[in-house]
Amino acid sequence: MESFEPYEEFKPIPLPVLIIAVALALWGVFTLLDNGKAVTVGRAERSDQIADQHANRQNGAELFVSRCATCHQPNGSGVEGAIPPLASSPFLKASPEVAMHILLNGIDGPIRVGDATFEGHMPSFASVLSDADIVRLVTHVRGTFADRHDLLTEGDVATARLLAGRRGAWQGGQEIAARLDASLGPQPPMSSATQAAIDPIAQKLVSQGNGQTWACASCHGMRGQGSASVPRLAGLPAAYIAKQLGDYVTGKRRNETMQLVARTLKPQDMRRIGDYYSVMRAPSNARASLGGDLVRGERLVLDGDWARGLPSCVSCHGPSTFGVAPSFPALSAQHPEYTAAQLTAWVSGTRDNSTGRLMNGIAARLNDADRRAVADYLATLPPVPAPATRGRTNGK
């Protein structure tokens, strides 16, 4: 073994090590400071949002654009034969309580505006507009379209809201004229086919189950309003509900819980349940909760994004996404967790039962942020209006 000569040479830290150390130190400082900024900005945005929610900063005009103009049109002209005009509407010229009560309860029946009669089906906005919102919106709409400037107070709205919860939608113009303001002129009578009688068999299935499986209401709620990933069923088209239950049996739509339940149901049970839920009404209990970009969501829902081959939701699911029977379900007031999960399920193939496989292609073109944006925006919309009227309208 050769003998080892110790050397005294002082070996400095190699230059590359120093360079790496300095580079890492700079990166560390930058990352720390950068994070500080991100946190500050994030916090500021969040507090702005919260402030917005608390201060109800949207003014009447903004509320009108975001809540009313889709159907009544930005200039208040309505849609001939479908949506009543606001401009010069006797309902706006009447006392401000009329507009307030209509907003709170919605309309479910024929109304006459000017010379035309409409099958009114306007949703209730009680769940999505605050008292202050309603005051601002009514003031704006009456001032703009009817040149009436007498004011409503938040106290009026609060009182009316208490009553609104107990009664359903106004049964057409006749009821409004009789109850609220006789100056509205002659109104068409309510059709004789009033509320469909509640089917006792369906009611038993929904509230008690069929002995083999649990009741629908145990998850979907007594009013079919659902919660989080359990969907809202109230107001969905009857045929759509029946079809989904059938698809759970065939496996075109997969969900362990629902497959178990659906296998115990006879086809006629499915139809009964569909009918039962299609006429059910429940206020919205959905809230945007996925942190989606609501502006982007609104754009996708109303206009789509043709650059990416995405049609708007409303083009098939109907104005305000209230659904088009029998195939297109209502989307409004649906829980965002459920909507986003379904959009994902179309992609993964756990759900493969849409008409012409339309949704498979659409969902595949949505990215995760878009899914959350759409789901959150839909959750902010008012729930499906008066289904009884729609049933009658379809029947005619």
């Binding site: 830290i13 190699p14 120093l18």
Partner: protein
Amino acid sequence: MTLTIGLLLGLSFFASLLALAFLIWAVNNRQLTITQHDAYTIFTEGEAGHPDDATTEGSQDEGGAARAHHFDTERAGIDAISRPAVVTLISSGIAWLAIGSIFGLIASLKLHWPDWLVGEAWLTFGRVRTLHLNMVIYGWLSMTGIGVAMWVAPRIFHTALRYPKLPIIGAILWNVGVAAGAIAIASGWNDGQEWLEIPWQIDILIAIAGSFFVLPLLATAARRHVKHIYVTGWYYIAALCWFPILFFIANIPYIYSGVQEATVNWWFAHNVLGLWLTPLGVGAAYYFIPKIIGKPIYSYSLSLLGFWALALFYSQVGIHHLIGGPVPTWVVTLSIVHSVMMFVPVIAVAINHHVTVARNLWALKASVPLRFISLGAVMYTLASFQGSIEALRSVNSVTHFTQYTVAHAHLGAYGFVSFVMFGAVYHMLPRITGRSWPWPSMIPAHFWLVVVGFAIYFIGLTIGGVLQGFAMLDVARPFSDSVQVVLPYLEIRSLGGAVMVVGHLIFAAHFLAALIQRDAQAPAAQPHDTRSAVST
């Protein structure tokens, strides 16, 4: 409140940077009066340059005997005093390794045979895995690491171990503590935090046992016969000061809850690796690599940089386990920055270890212990680089909560620390017993079994973990996909793990045989076996 603590912790980073910059400046300007000569502390005069390895085949020449004579007065006397403590600690450690790795194998098999051994509560996965972790960390690695330190420290301090009876008492108490902890965990009584499962009531016993190790080592360091403390000594002294603090703070009952509890939990769990097992392993490698090769380490100033950068930056690393959790963002970011700064000490240590080995590759062929230790050093470099990268949010969001993290933990605790301990035991035991290993061919057999087994284990689990991570991130895939995709890799892991366990059992049996052999001859050799201890 947030601002104050955030500012303080942020300042700690800047203070660390300043300290590091000062250190580099001082080293480069020779402000610190260290020279390469200090690195020779571990050699007695005339020893440097000779391969010092009992298992070196064909080099047991008369040069070795002449050399041995040379240390007789000084070193052999030192070793004889620390011997009982070292033997007690290391044999306990190896016993825990054998038991602990069998539990590890059971836990691994259970992941793909979920219906196997489910009859008894203590054999369910949650307890078996926890038993494995606590036995190998607190039983095998901690006890063996301390045992090696008890043997190395007196040698680098050129003086006998002080209070040599204390570590034996400590080892007995520590064994009782780990055994009681294991029984508590098996019966379902634990503190409910990873790495802190042993109930705090039992931890009191372990803490007392720990003080029986710290006291002799610090006393020995205080009465050393050399002026300069060799780098191994820094790591050992630091580790023995850090670990009691960590262990005490993290185990204080009833004061942490919720997010704070999680934060303290991961602060502790990661520091056990970085401020306890790492210094034990790096310190041992710093001693044995130049010792076996017979040449000094490459650069003393790099040793300084490596040690102080570890000391300055490691303590905040653990919170990167809570990325995405409800912890203030700045806490997580600070932890990520500190994690990435770990590149500095790791590069410094890597250059020192690997350059010294790379210039003396012949020694790898001759010495299996060196092969274990230098491979362990390479694994330290790789595990640390991997760890720094895993701390980045972009990587962490894929790999965390997957088997990838498990593979990484084993690269650090097994590939690095365990390998170094294997090598250290192989190097030390002949000098302790005064006789060669009874079955020399079992040493390379152990080496290749654990190397091949671990390669299968690590590569399989890493690939499986990444696939699992992508499956979990893809919202379009059901959760069950992430379970199914990783299944074949879990089977591969069990295969690799089984091979490793075979290696451990051979190691344990071999160790036992070497001890029994000694005991059989002990009565006759006892009075003067200090001589034979070095004349291997």
